[in-house]
Symmetry: C2
């Protein structure tokens, strides 16, 4: 592999491969292999197959432990939000993996390097290679650095319906009264801000702001869920 | 948990839980928890969420290493055949897990104990608990004993189209001539046996028998794939 990429993953993630051919394969598309038939290269697809399962388990274990009260349905939705093409392609770019993919000329010209599907595949094949070469502990430490913090940065929020989650949660043991109160709105029409609170059985559990009433309510529900999760 | 079940998993799989509450939860349905509100019990769903990802990775790793030349598409199909409700519910029964599920009375009377979906869930929650309590190595040794051998016993054959697999494999690098020859048929009409061979570019790669020509051809293709996989 290009020395620059070795340096990048060592400097940023303290990953140093024993078997460099694995890392090579993880970053190589079939089109490149076909253009260099003499080099006996491998391409990334098999490692991607493995990497997908590796992320599934790493993420599952993390959210299972981090949210000890979260019911299965919400865990499943959260996992699906974290392990998917959209989030992985963004992460691949953030990690600058796109710069080091080995592509055939035709694919390069067709703009494959920045295609979401390929970026996602490479993000998976990379972790498949890390898992084989370095084991699950190194995978987890990479995820702790790169993937898990995105949860707190709100990356996966758009996938959630916090109001539904809150309703499901508080109504587990029977019907409960949930109300959203508009507390404030300010700013000109083209830059308006709303502030709401969520009140459960007469007690306020959280406030939220947003550019629409709906956003403000979602944020209030999100806040209330956090309060309730910490309560238990 | 019932002492009998502890004994069963120790005697059969050498698994002894440190945290018995995990094993209890893995075998307990919500209906049972609801009937015993005083016991502060947990039910299996969260462990099932985790167990699903645990099997995915255990199976992925196994078939990735066992079939070093199998392309991603065939690996994915094989994994889907191994990790699914049908195979897991059969395995749960074979392991006698169905006897030890804790159900509420209504569910028991409704026959839930032998419902495929529940058996599959329990097979997953069990491995989720093993993974948390004992780690991945114990999971793998359980799979080696219980799940992986089914591959050689032909459990997953019906999910495969060996003829298509063979065609995909040999035509990777361009068109190839594949023929199936009927070699023999014998027995009375209601118990007929067919024998075929598969010939690739004029060379025979395998023979197969079956109760129909189609079955015999599938079996010949399966045999040829084995020969080719070992060849490489």
């Amino acid at each position: 592999m290009i020395k620059e990429f070795d340096d990048l993953i060592y400097n940023n993630y303290r990953i140093k491969f024993n078997n460099e051919a694995l890392l090579d394969a993880a970053m190589t598309q079939a089109s490149y292999v076909n253009e260099h038939p003499d080099q006996n290269l491998k391409f990334y697809q098999r490692l991607e197959f493995l990497g997908d399962a590796v992320y599934e388990l790493a993420v599952s274990t993390y959210i299972f432990k981090r949210f000890p009260k979260l019911p299965e349905g919400r865990l499943t939705r959260l996992r699906a939000a974290m392990v998917n093409e959209d989030s992985f392609s963004r992460l691949a770019k953030e990690c600058q993996f796109n710069k080091y993919i080995r592509l055939g000329k035709g694919e390069e010209e067709a703009g494959a390097r920045n295609r979401e599907k390929l970026l996602c595949d490479i993000f998976e094949s990379f972790i498949g290679a890390v898992y084989l070469d370095q084991g699950m502990d190194k995978v987890v430490s990479f995820c702790k650095q790169v993937l898990f913090p995105k949860l707190d940065e709100g990356w996966f929020d758009e996938y959630f319906d916090h109001k539904t989650d809150l309703q499901e949660k508080v109504q587990e043991h029977g019907p409960v009264d949930i109300e959203y109160h508009l507390l404030d709105e300010e700013g000109p029409d083209n830059d308006r801000r709303f502030k709401t609170s969520v009140v459960i059985n007469g007690k306020e559990y959280g406030e939220g702001v947003g550019e629409s009433k709906k956003d403000a309510e979602q944020n209030a529900a999100k806040r209330a869920l956090k309060v309730l999760d910490n309560d238990e």
